[in-house]
Point group: C2
Chain length 336, copies 2
């Protein structure tokens, strides 16, 4: 349970007590009625109710090198949102809604203020999607993490009725691909961005007119979750791809049946200025951009034509960005 | 799913392909029939069957600075066992048996051979307790992890029938505390050990007659899991404490009802040579030793006297190490 978070931190007792109370308060707002109370227990307990044939869907991931930017900019309240929303989207692609979330925060020396900011982000994102922040661990590992560096890992557990699993199996040529806009880079491509645009405080603090904000602000925009918009529309969707590391070619084929490919109309949506800035500054080929970044599309939905138009009506932001075709050759993702 | 492990690693394609196949093979031996096949899906899927009122019990943790020793000794096949068994014991204290496990491995630069060794340990420990290694992530984070350093995090999900939850609520004065031996330090106290005994390869390679092995070998002995021995005996147990970080005072009170305390008979078991070595070399007070280390007891079981004797009959290694008393003063853990 949350209450055993931070008990072994190498911080002074008073600060640790205050931190523990703050964490407990932040976690409490995420509590769902299924959570069985039990302060101090060794495992978080969640009663699974209301499912006929429950299938548990889980995902574990980190924030990656976006963390480094957050440390440089001393802005730690967004990375928790990143990892929660990233995880929520991952299990959403199977049709699952979140039940609970666990976090792991590791630092060289525990800084209560930093932990508090990180947990604030975790808590607000969890609350936003009715997911309980049920447990976690904060590890102090001197000699492994230098200076203000830390790592942040999350594990989400959700559930879906067996009959409502979304797995792309019924996708056929002629199906339509819809895209929903990303909020920014989400959590991928940051190692490349840091090389191309610099990672110093001067680079990050520079105002870019085309972004309408500083580079640092644009890069730290949190990963967006698509659960709320899509929750009531999942029966219309045959397959979903969360556009994360690996971009379009790395993620879309994961839900495609054999002998099908995804053909995208590259002109169907405008590539946001941040991606164009990275592309031009880095002299990066367009193909490579699609392999690394989401290019403005955070999630792709595949549906039969009729359902695709129904989805589009209900989702004002949705754009028709491509279609499913018969596989020809070996490219499972093609851009026109 | 396991199959999206390591897809974005910065290793050459051939090595990455070989690694992916090795990982898949290692994960495959842990598959339970409840896992729904779905190569490439974004979340691991596990059908929950056979429970009337299932309560999901989860725990997330890292291995801590024991990792540093493993790196120094270039012996990476045991840390996976550590994190799995640690997690299995944590949820066992609530009466839960494991369903599935997810891992996170982060390195500065991905070394396929290192990842393979780590996953070997995860897989063998999971297989040993019928827990599916259902998913995970390997992150390459240059600039965060130096040299051969890495972090390893695990999240376990288990389940227990609501009516069979173990939470210590019925514990009363007069109940007996049984202890089961630890295999070594398990996963706690390593920062202190490294300070006291040194962390150089010479220190670790030294043979200690009282240990019957080198110091490094003794320190790397994997965390032991108690699931197999206890699985069929859980109805006899009122409360359980996994003796991890915080030692006896940090863990035993977590399962005690208000107004009760645990009185241990310090002479009831022999403190293993490794702990005595640390104590004498570091000039560490006995009290402090009990606050940091397991001192030879990996898990404490609390049961009514009749049941305690039944447990002792069925568990040849179990030792009567204390009893529950009425709380007097503020010390919830007392050593006679």
């Amino acid at each position: 349970m949350i209450s055993n978070h931070y008990t072994q931190a190498g911080v002074d007792i008073g600060a640790a007590d205050t931190l523990k109370k703050d964490i407990a308060r932040l976690a409490r707002v995420t509590l769902r009625p299924e959570v069985l109370a039990g302060p101090g227990l060794f495992g978080g307990m969640f009663e699974l109710k209301g499912f006929t044939q429950p299938v548990l869907v889980s995902s574990m991931d980190g924030v990656g090198t976006k963390l480094k930017l957050a440390v440089t900019l001393d802005r730690l309240d967004t990375v928790g949102i990143d990892i929660v929303n990233h995880s929520v989207n991952d299990i959403l692609t199977c049709g699952a809604t979140p039940l609970f979330f666990l976090d792991y925060i590791a630092m060289g020396h525990l800084k209560p203020e930093a932990v508090r900011e990180i947990v604030k982000g975790l808590s607000s994102a969890c609350q936003d999607v009715s997911c309980t922040l049920i447990g976690g661990e904060t590890a102090e590992m001197p000699g492994l993490y230098a200076g203000s560096d830390f790592d942040l890992v999350g594990c989400i557990i959700g559930a879906v009725e067996k009959s409502e699993i979304i797995n792309g199996q019924t996708i056929t040529p002629g199906d339509i691909i819809l895209g929903l806009p990303s909020s920014g880079l989400h959590t991928n491509g940051y190692s490349l961005v840091r090389r191309v645009l610099g990672e110093g405080i001067e680079d990050l603090g520079k105002y870019h007119p085309e972004l309408g904000m500083t580079l640092g602000e644009a890069l730290l925009i949190p990963h967006r979750s698509y659960l709320k918009e899509l929750k009531s529309l999942l029966t219309l969707v045959k397959g979903m791809a969360h556009i994360t590391g690996g971009g379009f070619p790395g993620n879309v084929p994961r839900v495609l049946p054999e002998n099908t490919a995804a053909r995208f109309d590259a002109k169907a949506w405008e590539i946001p200025p941040l991606f164009r800035l990275i592309e031009s500054r880095g002299g990066i080929a367009r193909d490579e951009m699609y392999r690394v970044f989401n290019m403005g599309i955070g999630i792709a939905l595949i549906a039969a034509p009729d359902d695709a138009y129904r989805l589009k009506e209900r989702l004002p932001e949705a754009m028709i960005i491509g279609e499913i075709v018969r596989l020809q050759g070996s490219d499972r993702v093609v851009f026109d």
